[in-house]
C-alpha cells in the first residue's frame, strides 16, 4: 500500500514536472501582401497559452503543453488560421492570414441602387432623411426627388426616372406590389405618396439594373419595408394646418398593433391663401392604417391594412372652353398586405406575401357636356421567395409570383353615349438569382426572370446581371445590364384588346467612393426602349388604332455627393443629372424629347442642427431646365421649351421639449413663377392661330405648420423621426 502511495506521489510529481517543461512557440503573422498583422491572437487550442502579435507581426510564447497541438491564429476580418503539429515544431513559423469574405468591408452589388436603412452598408439617405428633407413635407416620393436620376415634374408629383414615364416605376411594400401608390389629385396639383413614412424603416430606391426579383417596371423600383418590432407603446397626436392625425401602438407579448388615423381638409387653408382653382368642394382625405405583427420563434408575421377616401370638386380654366370646366373625383382605396418572413431548416429563409388592392374612382366632369366615369380596379399579387446563403461566396434567391388585375370602366355622357370596358391581366412569374463573391474585391450577381403574359399570350425571359469590383479601400466600380418588361397600361388595353408588353434594356456603369461621412457616386447609363404603345388620334380613345411600334432611348450621367463631415452639425447633399432622351410613342409625329423630360436636374439639400435653439433647419433648392412642349403653330413637333423651373423649400423643426415638436415648412418663399407647360386650343382662331394658355402650378407657394406630440412610457420618444 505504501508502495502504491509512493508511486502515486512520484507519478504526480512527474506529471507536474512535465507541466513545467516549457517549449517556445514563435513566428510572424502576415497578410497576403506580406504586410505584418499586429494584434492577432495566437494560441494553442483548448489551453490558456498564447499571445498577441506585436507591431512587426512577430510573436513568441512559452507553453508547458507537449505532443501534437492545434495552433490557432485569429484576427478580425481574416479567416482563422489552424496549424496542427508537434509543439516542438512550432517555432519560427510564418503565418499568412487570408482576408475573410466580409460583408462589412467587402465589395457590394450596388449599381443603380440607393438605400436608406440601418442595415444598408452604404446609405445614401438615412431613414430620417425621407422625412426631414425640406420641401418634401413628409412625402416619401418628394424626398426621393432630390436624388439623381429623377426628373422634377412639378405639376404631377410622381417619380419620373431616367427618361421613363411615372408608371414605369413600381412601389413594393415588404416585397409585395402596391397597385395604386399615389393619392388622387386634381390636374396641375402634385400628388403625394399614399403611404405615410411613419411606417417604414427601410427604403431601397433603384434607378435601374435592379434584381430579377422585381419586374413589371421599365425604369425603377422603390422598395419599402415596414418596421419589424415597435420598441414601445406610444400615442402620437398631430395637429396640422391641414388636418389632424392620431396614432397608437400597443404591445402584448409576441404581438403588437399600430393604428394611424388621419384627416385632412384644405378648406381653411384655401380660405386664407386662395389658389388658381375655384373649389366647389375643397380637397379632403380621410385615411386609416393598421399593422398587426406577431413574432414566432423563427419568423415574423405582418398584416398591414390601409383604407382611404378622397373627395374634391374643382373648377379649372381650359383654353377650349369659355367657362371653367368642372371636375369632381371621389376615390376609395383599400389595400391589404400580409407577409411572413422566417427561417427554415438548413438556413433557408422564406419570405412570402400577398397584396390585395381595391380601388374605386368616380369622376363627374363638365366641359360643354356632362360626363360620368366609374372605374374599378381589383388586383392582387402573391409571392413566395426562398433565399439561402450557402457560404461566404454564394447566395441564392429564387421564387415564384403571380400578378392579377381586373379593371372595369363605365363611361356615360349626356349625349347618350355610354360604354363599358374591361381589362383582365394575369401574369405568373418565376425568378432565380445568385450572388457570387469571388474575393472581397470582386462580386457578380446573375439572375433571370421568366413570365407568361396572358394579354399577348407570350412567354418572356428577362436576364439581369451586375458585376462589382473594389478598386481601393473606399472605392468601387460596378457594371450592370438588364432586360425589363412591363404590361401595357389599362388605359390602352381597355380599347386595344391585345398588345405586347413594353420593353427596356439598361446598361449601367457606376463609380462609388465612400469614406467616413462622405459619399460620391457617379453613374453613366444607356437605356433602350422597344415595343412602346402608339395610337392614332388626339387622345387614346375607343376609336383609335393601337400598335407596339413605339421606341426610344435615354442616356445620361447622374452625380451624387453627400457630406456630413466637413461642417459641424451640418449635413448636405448635391445631386445633378444630365439626360439625353427621345422617344416616338403615343401619338407622336417623330422621335422627340417627351414633355416630362429635362436636360438638367439639380438639387441641393442641407440640414443644420443648432443645439442652443434645439432646432433643425432645412433648406432645399431644386432646379430643372426647360421641358419640351408642342406648339401647333410651328411646323416642328415638340420644339418649344418652357423656361427653367426653380424651387426652394425651407423648414424648421423646433423641439419644445422631449415629446413636443413644432414644425414649420415653407415651399417657394421667394415666389418663383414656375411654368409647367402650355395648353393650346384644339382649333385655330379666326386668324388661323392656335391660342395658348400658360399652365402654372395651382399655388406658387405653400406653408405648412404642424404640432406633434408623443405620449410614451419613457417620456423621451418624440416624432422628430417622423418629420
Amino acid at each position: 500500500m505504501k508502495l502504491l502511495f509512493t508511486l502515486l506521489i512520484v507519478l504526480f510529481s512527474f506529471i507536474t514536472g512535465l507541466l513545467h517543461a516549457q517549449t517556445t512557440v514563435s513566428g510572424v503573422v502576415l497578410d497576403s501582401k506580406k504586410n505584418p498583422i499586429p494584434g492577432a491572437n495566437i494560441y494553442l487550442d483548448g489551453t490558456y497559452d498564447g499571445t498577441t502579435s506585436t507591431m512587426d507581426g512577430t510573436f513568441s510564447f512559452t507553453t508547458e503543453e507537449t505532443g501534437t497541438q492545434k495552433l490557432l491564429v485569429s484576427y478580425i476580418a481574416f479567416v482563422t488560421y489552424e496549424y496542427v503539429a508537434e509543439v516542438s515544431q512550432m517555432n519560427k513559423l510564418t503565418i499568412i492570414l487570408k482576408e475573410e469574405i466580409n460583408t462589412l468591408t467587402g465589395v457590394t452589388l450596388t449599381a443603380g441602387t440607393f438605400e436608406a436603412g440601418d442595415n444598408a452598408k452604404v446609405t445614401a439617405l438615412k431613414p430620417l432623411d425621407i422625412v426631414t428633407t425640406a420641401g418634401a413635407v413628409g412625402d416619401v416620393v418628394g424626398a426621393l426627388q432630390t436624388l439623381p436620376g429623377t426628373s422634377t415634374v412639378s405639376e404631377d408629383g410622381r417619380l419620373f426616372v431616367r427618361g421613363g414615364e411615372a408608371d414605369e416605376t413600381q412601389i413594393f411594400i415588404d416585397g409585395v406590389r402596391v397597385f395604386t401608390p399615389y393619392n388622387a389629385s386634381p390636374n396641375n396639383s402634385p400628388t403625394r405618396g399614399r403611404y405615410s413614412p411613419f411606417l417604414f424603416n427601410g427604403t431601397t430606391f433603384s434607378t435601374g439594373g435592379y434584381s430579377a426579383e422585381y419586374g413589371e417596371a421599365l425604369s425603377s423600383v422603390l422598395l419599402l419595408s415596414t418596421i419589424n418590432e415597435p420598441d414601445q407603446e406610444r400615442t402620437d397626436i398631430s395637429i396640422m394646418s391641414l388636418g389632424a392625425g392620431l396614432g397608437n401602438t400597443q404591445i402584448f407579448g409576441k404581438n403588437s398593433v399600430s393604428v394611424n388615423l388621419g384627416y385632412m381638409n384644405l378648406r381653411p387653408y384655401l380660405e386664407l391663401f386662395p389658389d388658381r382653382n375655384e373649389w366647389d368642394k375643397p380637397y379632403q382625405i380621410g385615411s386609416g392604417e393598421a399593422v398587426y405583427r406577431h413574432k414566432f420563434t423563427n419568423g415574423l408575421l405582418k398584416f398591414y391594412s390601409a383604407f382611404d377616401y378622397t373627395n374634391f370638386a374643382v373648377k379649372q380654366r381650359d383654353i377650349n372652353y369659355e367657362n371653367r370646366t368642372s371636375f369632381e373625383l371621389t376615390n376609395q382605396n383599400f389595400y391589404n398586405n400580409i407577409s411572413y418572413k422566417g427561417s427554415l431548416k438548413n438556413d433557408w429563409i422564406l419570405s412570402t406575401g400577398a397584396g390585395l388592392s381595391y380601388s374605386k374612382n368616380k369622376y363627374d366632369i363638365y366641359t360643354d357636356m356632362a360626363e360620368g366615369i366609374d372605374q374599378q380596379n381589383i388586383s392582387y399579387h402573391l409571392k413566395v421567395d426562398l433565399k439561402k446563403r450557402f457560404n461566404k461566396h454564394l447566395k441564392l434567391n429564387t421564387g415564384v409570383e403571380y400578378f392579377s388585375s381586373n379593371y372595369d370602366q363605365d363611361y356615360e355622357n349626356d349625349n347618350n353615349i355610354a360604354y363599358a370596358t374591361k381589362v383582365t391581366k394575369e401574369l405568373p412569374v418565376t425568378f432565380a438569382e445568385t450572388d457570387i463573391f469571388f474575393t472581397n474585391n470582386l462580386a457578380l450577381k446573375a439572375g433571370i426572370r421568366g413570365s407568361y403574359d396572358s394579354v399577348s399570350d407570350r412567354f418572356l425571359l428577362a436576364p439581369r446581371t451586375s458585376l462589382a469590383y473594389k478598386t481601393g479601400t473606399n472605392s468601387q466600380v460596378s457594371l450592370a445590364y438588364g432586360d425589363f418588361y412591363q404590361t401595357v397600361s389599362d388605359n390602352y388595353l381597355q380599347y386595344a384588346g391585345s398588345l405586347k408588353p413594353q420593353r427596356a434594356q439598361h446598361y449601367i456603369a457606376n463609380y462609388q467612393y465612400v469614406k467616413g461621412g462622405q459619399i460620391f457616386r457617379s453613374e453613366l447609363y444607356y437605356k433602350n426602349y422597344a415595343d412602346l404603345v402608339k395610337y392614332s388620334g388626339d387622345e387614346a380613345a375607343f376609336n383609335s388604332t393601337y400598335n407596339n411600334n413605339g421606341y426610344g432611348y435615354a442616356s445620361g450621367l447622374d452625380i451624387f455627393w453627400r457630406d456630413e463631415k466637413t461642417f459641424k452639425n451640418m449635413d448636405y447633399w448635391v445631386s445633378y443629372s444630365y439626360m439625353d432622351t427621345k422617344r416616338d410613342y403615343r401619338n407622336y409625329e417623330a422621335e422627340v424629347m417627351p414633355s416630362f423630360a429635362a436636360d438638367h436636374n439639380f438639387s441641393l439639400v442641407t440640414k443644420y442642427w443648432i443645439e442652443s435653439l434645439k432646432s433643425q433647419f432645412g433648406f432645399t433648392y431644386s432646379f430643372t431646365s426647360g421641358r419640351p412642349y408642342d406648339d401647333p403653330n410651328s411646323n416642328q413637333f415638340m420644339a418649344g421649351k418652357t423656361k427653367s423651373y426653380n424651387n426652394l423649400g425651407l423648414n424648421w423643426s423646433y423641439l419644445i421639449d422631449q415629446q413636443k415638436i413644432l414644425f414649420i415648412s415653407f415651399t417657394n418663399p421667394l415666389g418663383f413663377k414656375n411654368v409647367s407647360g402650355y395648353q393650346y386650343a384644339d382649333a385655330p382662331n379666326s386668324n388661323g392661330i392656335y391660342e395658348r394658355m400658360t399652365v402654372r402650378p395651382n399655388a406658387d407657394s405653400f406653408v405648412f405648420i404642424g404640432f406633434f406630440w408623443t405620449i410614451s412610457n419613457d417620456k423621451k420618444t418624440n416624432q422628430l423621426d417622423n418629420l
Binding site: 502504491l4 494584434g39 478580425i76
Partner: protein, 207 residues
C-alpha cells in the same frame, strides 16, 4: 483508505491547478488592461473563453474592453469591425447566461457607442430600444449598482441632449453609490466596476 485519500489529494491538487490557471489567466488579462494594452487583454480573455466554454465572465470582458475602445474610434469601418467583435462576444455570453442584467448593461453600452459615434443616424433608431434594455435590466435586478448607475447616466445624457434638467437623476446615482457598497456576488471575477465614475458624476451633480 489511504488510496482514497491519495486519489482525492491528486484530484484536489489537479483541480486546484486548473482553478489557479483560470485565476492566473484572468489576472493576466486585467494586468494587461491596467497597463493600457487593451488589445492584448481582449485577446487573453478571448483565449480563456475558448477554454472555459460554459463561463460568460471572460466573454463579458472581451465585450467591455472593445466597447470602451469603441468610444474613441472616429472611423466607421474600424468601429464596425470593433463592434462586430463586441456583438459576437455578447451573443455568446447571452446564450450561456440568459437574462443577465450585467450583459444587458453592456448591450445598452454597445448601442450607446453607435449613438455617440453618429447621433443623427443611430440616436433615433437605437435610443428607444436602449431605454427598453435598461428598463428590463432594472426589473430583473433593481439592486444592481451598475444597472442603476448606467441607466441614470443614460437618462442624464438624453436630458442634456434635449436641454433638460439632469439633476432629477442625481438621486439615482446616489442610490447606485450606496448599492455599490452593499452589492455582493460570489462568482469569481464578477463585474465590479462603476463606483468611481458614479461618484465622479455625483460630485459634479452638487456643483
Amino acid at each position: 483508505m489511504k488510496q482514497v485519500i491519495a486519489f482525492l489529494a491528486l484530484f484536489i491538487s489537479m483541480s486546484s491547478i486548473a482553478q489557479s490557471t483560470y485565476e492566473k489567466g484572468m489576472n493576466k488579462g486585467f494586468k494587461l488592461w491596467g497597463e493600457g494594452k487593451s488589445l492584448e487583454a481582449s485577446n487573453v480573455f478571448e483565449r480563456i473563453s475558448n477554454v472555459e466554454k460554459e463561463n460568460w465572465i471572460p466573454l463579458y470582458y472581451v465585450a467591455q474592453i472593445n466597447i470602451l475602445d469603441g468610444f474613441t474610434i472616429k472611423e466607421k469601418t474600424e468601429l464596425e469591425l470593433k463592434l462586430e467583435k463586441v456583438k459576437t462576444a455578447l451573443d455568446k455570453a447571452k446564450a450561456l447566461s440568459p437574462n443577465n442584467p450585467e450583459l444587458m448593461v453592456l448591450e445598452a453600452l454597445y448601442n450607446t457607442v453607435w449613438i455617440a459615434f453618429d447621433g443623427a443616424t443611430y440616436g433615433m433608431t437605437l435610443g428607444a430600444p436602449t431605454t427598453e434594455i435598461y428598463k428590463k435590466a432594472l426589473e430583473l435586478a433593481p439592486d444592481n449598482p451598475r444597472v442603476v448607475y448606467c441607466y441614470a447616466e443614460w437618462n442624464m445624457g438624453m436630458a442634456s441632449y434635449f436641454g433638460k434638467d439632469t439633476t432629477p437623476y442625481c438621486q439615482e446615482v446616489k442610490k447606485a453609490i450606496e448599492l455599490f457598497s452593499t452589492f455582493k456576488n460570489e462568482t469569481p471575477f464578477y463585474p465590479s466596476w462603476g463606483k468611481d465614475r458614479a461618484e465622479q458624476i455625483y460630485n459634479s451633480c452638487n456643483k
